[in-house]
Symmetry: C2
Subunit: 159 residues, 2 copies
């Protein structure tokens, strides 16, 4: 698809109807596939319950990019209220995905730009995210947007 094909891309808050498409996007990824459920006609109750928790929390937002009636990108944004940095709010971004067929055409940049505006409107002083060290292209993408890989992102499973 040529770049101008993205002119109709709309970035917006997700609704419950978007959940199956978002789960499919999250799944369409070598790293995530190992831990996610296989997407299908039915979406696990666990995903719907998680969406309802996200929707009920004013600090949480699931964002999607829609093109020609189809969800082609997603991200989750959480506003964090902190004592450090003089009580500054931060926007944490996770689960950023763009449909494989549309990568490299600017959809991810459009999504991140929308998130930046949303975060600024809510007084955020900082956007932060972590990206798996195996995702070399993702790190370069975020660096082009001005992100600095200043921190180690450390995780520990509790299961």
């Amino acid at each position: 698809m040529p770049a101008e094909g993205l002119a109709g891309l709309v970035i917006r808050a997700a609704t419950q109807r978007d959940v199956p498409a978002v789960v499919a996007l999250i799944y369409d990824d070598d790293i995530a596939a190992a831990r996610e459920s296989v997407p299908g006609a039915d979406v696990d109750a666990a995903y719907l319950a998680a969406f309802q928790q996200i929707a009920a929390n004013p600090d949480d937002l699931l964002v999607v990019g829609e093109l020609d009636g189809r969800v082609v990108a997603c991200a989750q944004v959480t506003l964090l209220h902190h004592l450090s940095r003089r009580g500054g709010t931060r926007a944490q971004v996770e689960s950023v995905r763009v449909d494989a067929a549309l990568r490299g055409q600017g959809a991810g940049g459009r999504l991140m730009s929308w998130i930046e505006g949303y975060a600024r409107d809510r007084g955020a002083a900082l956007i932060q995210l972590t990206t798996d060290k195996r995702r070399v292209e993702a790190r370069r993408f975020y660096e082009r947007l001005g992100f600095v890989a200043s921190h180690e992102g450390m995780k520990r499973s509790l299961r």
Copy 2:
């Protein structure tokens, strides 16, 4: 102070009265000092407002370690509800500090162990944090606790 001096360490949720001591702990750090306000008898209204936001959100918790009536450690925990990992809740930990005079004696481990119990009780499948790459000792501390530095922690200032 010998290690047994920590036997009286109590880990608990913070109250508004702890805010000045927490700000002082956050400030007592070369990296943070460059961006935090100087601690003093008065605590900025910005810090109190941030604490009130934290206290009002059931997914947010400011934790302190108290020893002999003095706040000697702190951390902030946020429960994140996600679509990825089958809707799993994650506990995000930030602003971990231990009084400089008490480091290396186990207070940080006690604090993180308390946070782990709190996170498990709330169904978290994962604990995550980022640590500045300049904090070499901090990374080793978290690795000893089982954290894996699998991700790049990327930040972008909006100011």
